[in-house]
Symmetry: C2
Amino acid sequence: LSSFVGGPTGKWKVLSIDAVRGAVLPVVERIDIFNPPFPEFKGHSWVLNGVISNARYVEKAEKIQLLARQAPLNRQEATRAALIPIKKSPAWWNMSQDERRAIFEDQSHHTAEGLKYLPAIARQLFHCRDLGESFDFLTWFEYSPQHSAEFEHLVQFLRNSEEWRWVDREVDIRLELGEPNFSKPEVP
Amino acid sequence: LSSFVGGPTGKWKVLSIDAVRGAVLPVVERIDIFNPPFPEFKGHSWVLNGVISNARYVEKAEKIQLLARQAPLNRQEATRAALIPIKKSPAWWNMSQDERRAIFEDQSHHTAEGLKYLPAIARQLFHCRDLGESFDFLTWFEYSPQHSAEFEHLVQFLRNSEEWRWVDREVDIRLELGEPNFSKPEVP
């Protein structure tokens, strides 16, 4: 379980919070990410919880490519991030697995397109639908400032896809590592 | 979210609790099922939580058959039930979607076999892996006493399947509607 806590403190400084579809989240200055055991959050505005779970659509051949090309989180140079919580429609969740997979990949090329941006754009998906949260997923991306334009291409591609027509709510939060709370280890 | 509460009270009387694989659960007299808003549970032995979520493997053609044949829960004549919590192995969850689907249906015929027992055996799956629970699923079955033998055939079939080799823990709890707390409405 990971908790994304929006409030006055945290190592990620908020650059923008925009509603792409549906209601936006309250503006906060910073976001911090916590894992259990949790401290007692105080003075925060909101908390989004999610869990890293098994992949729901990726097939074996795609998984091999992803594993070969993906980058880890917390890279020294990845000082930009995006937290994009998404909620899909009841109609999406009511579809069978083969119908959802067909939209996700055969029509929308979700994984195939994401692969093109590896290893520049590191990505981690957190699931939260089964947790009864307001969103179904929290998507988290980390990249260096020099890859900002590529990241814009990626999110625009996904928002123009067939899959995105099943999105009921999406908030786009852009972040940069905040100097005052900069806590990454120095490269030796 | 549904909570299965094992303890001294509840409308379902426990007939047996057996470990099929891995650790058993503590013996209790009764099980009750609660949905939010939850009362304050007292004097209970254990609580298993799960959520009804989207189907993970069922394809459209199978779904059509399931919808046409399945029975609802809470039928007057369905006075027997089974609560079978299951935890699958890390190796299962590490497989890609197509690998899991191939084992689930192509090799194990999970849905095709279950269909044969409809509408006699009503079934509801509760997911709990993303909730951080001890089990990954809570499987719940309801049937009339006259279909007890068929239910045994179904569980034996599933335990002899390829899919079952990926089960790390399974507890089998058999229940009958308990007279003292019998709260179903009378047929008018």
